[in-house]
Symmetry: C2
Subunit: 209 residues, 2 copies
């Protein structure tokens, strides 16, 4: 059976129901902890599920932030200092990763049990034990007219990855890295590969590679 919602029915639904539903529609999302440091030297860590590939040459990453209408430590630290880290989450610390989203006073590292790590004189903190860590520098921001969502683009300055997950062709085995994926607002998953598929061409069916 198929359930159909029109836009009017969505808008008239309970706000909690609507928020859950709409947040699930985009499907599985990546999960990264973004580490920053304020100009005053206070470290910050927060979970983000809206991270995107922008380009490979130069290597760029994009992050969507909710409208900047209330205090948002991560966004403000990035805008003020220009640096941030992205740290993928594994099952051994996904609950601590979720917990960083609480309204803590002071650094999330002091409260949640996650440990900060500083590498290569990079000013923003990495998360110790994360299987895939990126050190990034702010390049550009844009604000969407429709609802003031903020889109931040960063250049990838450093990549640290557990070697067991790096294949010889450059691709990463996220199953081996045990990257966690998130759906909606609060649901966490691991993934299991179906297949890698050959480059798609009209003259032959795709094959597993």
């Amino acid at each position: 059976m198929i359930k159909h919602f029109t836009k009017d029915e969505i808008l008239e639904s309970d706000s909690f129901f609507r928020r859950n539903l709409i947040n699930c529609l985009s499907g599985y999302k990546s999960l990264n902890l973004i580490g920053t440091k304020s100009p005053e030297g206070i470290s910050n860590l927060a979970p983000f599920s809206q991270v995107f590939h922008i380009g490979a040459s130069p290597p760029l990453v994009g992050i969507l932030f909710r409208p900047h209408t209330v205090k948002r430590d991560t966004l403000e630290n990035i805008l003020e200092t220009g640096y941030f880290t992205m740290n993928q989450v594994s099952p051994s610390f996904y609950k601590e990763a979720h917990w960083t989203s609480a309204r803590w006073e002071g650094s999330e590292f002091l409260h949640t049990g996650l440990e900060e790590l500083y590498l290569d004189d990079f000013s923003a903190p990495y998360v110790k034990g994360s299987p895939l860590q990126l050190g990034c520098q702010l390049v550009e921001t844009q604000t969407l007219k429709v609802n003031q969502t903020v889109f931040v683009i960063g250049s990838i300055e450093h990549i640290y990855v557990e070697e067991k997950g790096l294949r010889t062709d450059g691709s990463l085995d996220l199953n081996v890295l045990e990257s966690v994926t998130v759906s909606g607002l609060d649901e966490y998953h691991v993934a299991k590969k179906l297949a890698r598929l050959s480059y798609a061409k009209p003259d032959r069916e795709v094959e597993e590679i």
Copy 2:
């Protein structure tokens, strides 16, 4: 063992290696087939992995398109007609979904075995059998200065979802819907839930709900 790449090492690496690596860094991505129709009436279907939640009230979705420097049927059809559908992919047709990315002459529906479906006088085609289908209308586009990536925002006008995946709180059980997630350029996965977690507060550890 941790492998470290600096930006210079990334830029100097083989272009195939670099493309694979950088495309994997954002983690697991959602997979949607976007259905459109040209002003001349030719339907089009293409896979997209860069789809985002923009807002719940009104319900909005965002899609990133590669720079508009070559012919891009999906983007052009959206800009010219204002309408598109998004269709989540399940394991029963992920190979056909991948195959839609080949350079077909004419409609991908004619070649790949996927069937088009028209609902509620909506002009863009849905994919028959998809467990979660959205009918969307163009709201806004922005082009990123850094590399001319195009960001398209659509309003969600219709949602069709298999009832077995819709929970009473509005959230979707993507494991039950068997939504497929993609990593890098060519690797497909299903997911398995770890847990849903309670709203994070500083005064107590998060719990499974």
